[in-house]
Symmetry: none
Subunit: 149 residues, 2 copies
DNA sequence: ATTTCTCTTGCATAAATATTCATTGTCTTG
DNA sequence: CAAGACAATGAATATTTATGCAAGAGAAAT
């Protein structure tokens, strides 16, 4: 009655190597390789594989989950940061030469709602708070975040 | 007859901030925010935005496709911008990695008097308004500018 | 001002996908 | 081995998504 594991594997191979527009088409490609199943089964298979259906300029196609990996390169932020300061509208971090973007990326990756955005130069990071009224607590938070890590 | 640019942007915001299972549901969420459209229109919108429909353990949901560097020759700002936000003193645009300067250049080129200046990092643009009192309309203006282009 | 184009949208419907229900093998257990 | 519990699957169908077509709204051209 069944070769499900192999079939799933072949499905992954197929959709990775060529654009497949729909499940009927996929059924045809599988048949060529000796797997004869109905659309219903493919619907279940694709769900199980977590496959995505995406729109491209050339039409719809399947794709192995294009989920962006949240790789967290734990930086040596603590050593890189030389000072943290603020004025009325933003927090400013000074870093060792060339390390600003790394520090900014790290802050961004935290996705803290208190931070709207950061911009990094060579050795300076500007941080815009969700509200200028939260500058002081934000600076404190940043110090904690950087020092905890 | 139309606020398409704004609507597209709001769609991006919605599907980024919460799981949306189908287009009817999306229609409901949009209605709450003042956009009343049919499923047919949303189908077209999602295709235009290159949105993906992915299977998660919790069911189906939409997701913005991570643009692969190679295929995006044309710097389509619409796809590069991931969010637009503001606090009391500036507007902040988040973009895909490495796209901030392109977006900022584009804004600069418009020479809009509402914008005093922009600063771009890797994936973030800070925009200083002619007056902090015009922050809200400026944010709206920017959304239109970017999405119309 | 009239015509012509282009863009956007809804409606109706086609196409594609997901699901319910029933069937059939495969194990497991007593 | 019989009985029950599962897993996999197809057929039929429900649900969801995409699209052909026509209408309306502007913009651009004549």
């Amino acid at each position: 009655m069944m070769n499900k594991p192999q079939r799933l594997f072949v499905i992954k191979e197929i959709i990775q190597s060529q654009p497949v527009a729909n499940q009927e088409e996929l059924a045809g490609l599988l048949k060529k390789r000796g797997f004869e199943v109905t659309q219903a089964t493919l619907s279940r298979d694709l769900a199980e594989l977590g496959v995505a259906r995406i729109h491209t300029p050339d039409g719809v196609r399947y794709s192995l989950t294009p989920v962006s990996e949240e790789q967290k390169v734990t930086p040596l932020v603590l050593r890189e940061v030389t000072s943290i300061d603020h004025n009325e509208v933003m927090v400013v971090i000074k870093t060792l030469p060339g390390r600003a973007s790394g520090v900014a990326s790290y802050l961004d990756s935290l996705k803290n709602p208190q931070i709207i955005g950061t911009v990094a130069g060579d050795d300076t990071v500007f941080i815009t708070p969700s509200s200028v009224k939260k500058i002081v607590p934000l600076e404190k938070l940043i110090k904690e975040l950087l020092l905890t890590q």
